[in-house]
């Protein structure tokens, strides 16, 4: 499974982990994952990219859609465990200005 989700014990955050390539093929899975999270109410999204090898512009687009979908607070979407490659992609697109990266 390229995409897995885990709700934190207290239900305050949903971690979406992506393995391998994060691209357009994950569009539906990714949307289902965050829509599922949104049903739980006002929660924080943690995108775990530790196992992500590559991210294309569609993935950046999906992150944007998620951010808009939850109405934009800076800390509501956190990108975690980015490797060097992913960090580079985020910085070229200047997405590091839009998302908290940990």
């Amino acid at each position: 499974m390229a995409l897995t989700t885990q709700l934190s014990n207290d239900g305050s955050s949903l971690t979406i982990s992506i393995t391998g390539r994060f691209d357009f093929n994950l569009y539906k899975d990714f949307r289902d994952a965050y829509e599922g999270g949104l049903e739980k109410g006002n929660i924080k999204f943690i995108i775990n990219l530790s196992q992500t090898e590559y991210m294309d512009s569609s993935a950046l687009g999906m992150l944007l859609v998620l951010k808009e979908r939850i109405g934009g607070g800076d800390s509501a979407v956190v990108l975690k465990n980015c490797n060097k490659e992913i960090k580079n992609i985020l910085s070229i697109s200047n997405f590091d200005k839009l998302f908290s990266i940990e």
């Binding site: 512009s57 687009g61 944007l64 859609v65 697109s93 200047n94």
Partner: protein, 578 residues
């Protein structure tokens, strides 16, 4: 013919069978009668033929839905009739059920071999006949359903293909790089599908300069290509009216934000060059580093410093650009990320580092562009392409004279006139205001000149900061040289500014038409009450300063026709001609 034992128990059942007709083929009159009575009772209409030949004829004229066919008949037997009917019915499924007394397995197999779909062994049993006909009706419905879907799919497919072709034509017409025939520009476009998500636009400005834009939309193919329409529209329209690339980026962003679904955006770099090609202005949002190779030093890299177009609300878009001073035949390279992320047949990526090296090495060859192009093409041999690939090379040399009588020029609406303005800022005003945007805006309002906005703004703000920071605040710019220096410098600036008393800066701007009335000369004079400063030591030249965004007096010099500090550095006069 064999005896026929029939026990009619079937009763007309299903309602919808009225439409279906059954052709009974038998040379025995009694058989035909009995069978047709039975079939009619099942609710079908019946027609009959007395031999194979008549059956073929009746099929051709009446198009029955199901055929019950005797095997042994005079004139033409059942096998031959079946072959002929299957031949002429083409794509339509007409079930043929053989009626036979033969129980020899080979003969039964022959029924199927000649195109029959099933067989019924005499003597008939009405239940079996009904069951077999029902089964065939079901197969026939299934067949028709598939045939309908297939033709719908075919129709859909050809419509889609047509739409793709239309989109491709529109895309090619709109993005047709007609202006890329400029001698200074070489480019490589390798789209992944028919329509590319990369877009390359180039236009000459009314003042004889040039705008180039390389855009890379999210995704590939048709959906990506659609965004090219508003982008190229906005680009060409604003460029021909003389807007600056900052304005163009601002307006494209606004247009995309309004039209594209969220999650779709366009990474882009825009470049503006003046006619003499001495400086370029650059705006890079989300594209890989722009690389400029120089004759006299290491290459300059201009990384993306903005978000891609279509992401931010227009109020938040930063339209500021960077100016770079160029030497003759310096080369500017812009690429889409498709190159960096291109994979070879082993699945390895091309990488930024390889691109940097290839570009640098290629400068030693007689045709750097084709050397780079070959490297990319060789790398991609036998590999699947995942993204559109675009490479553009722009050589810094004076542009051809441009006949701008064909282009719209909104400056013509404003006559070239004499005017001047001056503004004097005391300590309090210096603490809370930056007058440069206001003055630039005033110049735009009075004289048009939006294509010169960034240059004028750059001159004003460089000269103003020098007067303020060095003339009045006495700051030493050498502390900016180390990474922490910038912060130290700006802390010192804040502190000195907040303690400022009894100082002022006066800015005078005058505009005089040129004798030909085809342009004007803007004279900017900035005078401060400071004690002056040593110009030669305070400002590193652009050559040393290339990596920290090329600011400084040499940049201003390259933008102006005249620049002079007098009165020990407390007064500066700059002339900008347009």
């Amino acid at each position: 013919m064999d005896d026929v034992g029939i026990n009619i128990t079937g009763v007309a059942s299903a309602n919808n069978k009225d439409a279906l007709s059954v052709l009974i083929v038998d040379d025995d009159k009694t058989n035909r009668l009995i069978l047709s009575t039975l079939i009619k009772k099942l609710g079908y209409t019946v027609i009959s033929a007395i031999n194979g030949e008549e059956a073929v004829e009746m099929y051709a004229n009446n198009h029955p839905d199901i055929i019950l066919m005797d095997v042994m008949m005079p004139v033409m037997n059942g096998y031959d009739a079946a072959v002929e009917i299957k031949r002429i019915c083409c794509e339509v499924f007409v079930p043929i059920i053989f009626l036979t007394a033969i129980t020899d397995e080979n003969a039964l197999a022959k029924c199927i071999e000649y195109g029959g779909d099933d067989f019924i062994i005499k003597p008939y049993n009405s239940i079996i006949i009904k069951a077999k006909i029902d089964a065939m009706v079901r197969v026939r419905e299934l067949y028709n359903h598939i045939a309908d879907s297939k033709s719908a799919l075919q129709e859909h497919h050809s419509r889609l293909q047509l739409e793709h072709e239309i989109a491709e034509t529109i895309f090619t017409n709109i993005t047709n790089p007609k202006n890329l025939e400029i001698e200074n520009i070489k480019y490589l476009l390798k789209p992944m599908s028919i329509t590319s998500g990369d877009i390359l636009l180039c236009s000459r400005t009314p003042s004889g300069g040039m705008h180039v834009m390389l855009g890379d939309f999210t995704g590939h193919g048709l959906s990506a290509a659609i965004g090219a329409i508003p982008v190229s529209d906005t680009f060409y329209s604003l460029s021909s009216k003389g807007y600056s690339i900052g304005d163009i980026a601002f307006n494209i962003n606004k247009r995309l934000k309004e039209t594209l679904p969220s999650g779709f955006f366009c990474a882009a770099c825009l470049i503006e060059a003046d006619e003499a090609f001495r400086t370029v202005a650059v705006w890079n949002g989300g594209n890989p580093d722009i690389i400029i190779t120089t004759n006299d030093g290491p290459p300059i890299k201009i990384p993306s410093s903005h978000l891609p177009l279509g992401v931010l609300n227009s109020d938040n878009l930063d339209r500021s650009v960077e100016f770079i001073e160029l030497g003759p035949n310096d080369k500017i390279y812009m690429v889409s990320d498709g190159i960096i992320e291109a994979q070879n047949s082993q699945g390895n990526m091309y990488t930024q580092q390889k691109l940097d090296n290839v570009i640098l090495e290629a400068q030693k060859s007689s045709n750097p562009f084709s050397t780079i192009e070959n490297s990319i093409n060789e790398f991609c041999i036998n590999a699947e392409q995942f993204d559109d690939i675009t490479l553009i090379e722009i050589t810094a040399k004076p542009l051809d004279i441009y006949d701008n009588t064909q282009t719209e020029n909104n400056n013509q609406a404003l006559a070239v006139v004499n005017w001047g303005l001056s503004i004097k800022l005391g300590a309090g005003a210096l603490q809370q205001t930056n007058p440069c945007p206001l003055i630039t805006q005033s110049i735009m309002e009075i004289q048009g000149l939006s294509e010169h906005r960034e240059r004028i703004y750059t001159i004003l703000s460089e000269l103003y900061s020098n007067s303020l920071e060095h003339g009045i605040l006495k700051l030493d710019s050498s502390i900016k040289e180390n990474p922490q220096g910038f912060i130290q410098y700006y802390n010192a600036r804040e502190l000195a500014l907040s303690n400022l008393q009894d100082s002022s800066i006066e800015i005078l701007v005058e505009h005089h038409p040129l004798p030909s009335n085809s342009g004007g000369n803007i004279i900017i004079i900035i005078e401060d009450t400071g004690t002056g400063f040593d110009i030669s030591s305070s400002h590193s030249s652009l050559i040393d300063n290339k990596n920290s965004h090329g600011r400084g007096i040499n940049l201003v010099k390259s933008l102006c026709t005249f620049l002079s500090y007098t009165n020990g550095g407390t007064r500066v006069e700059a002339h900008y001609q347009w």
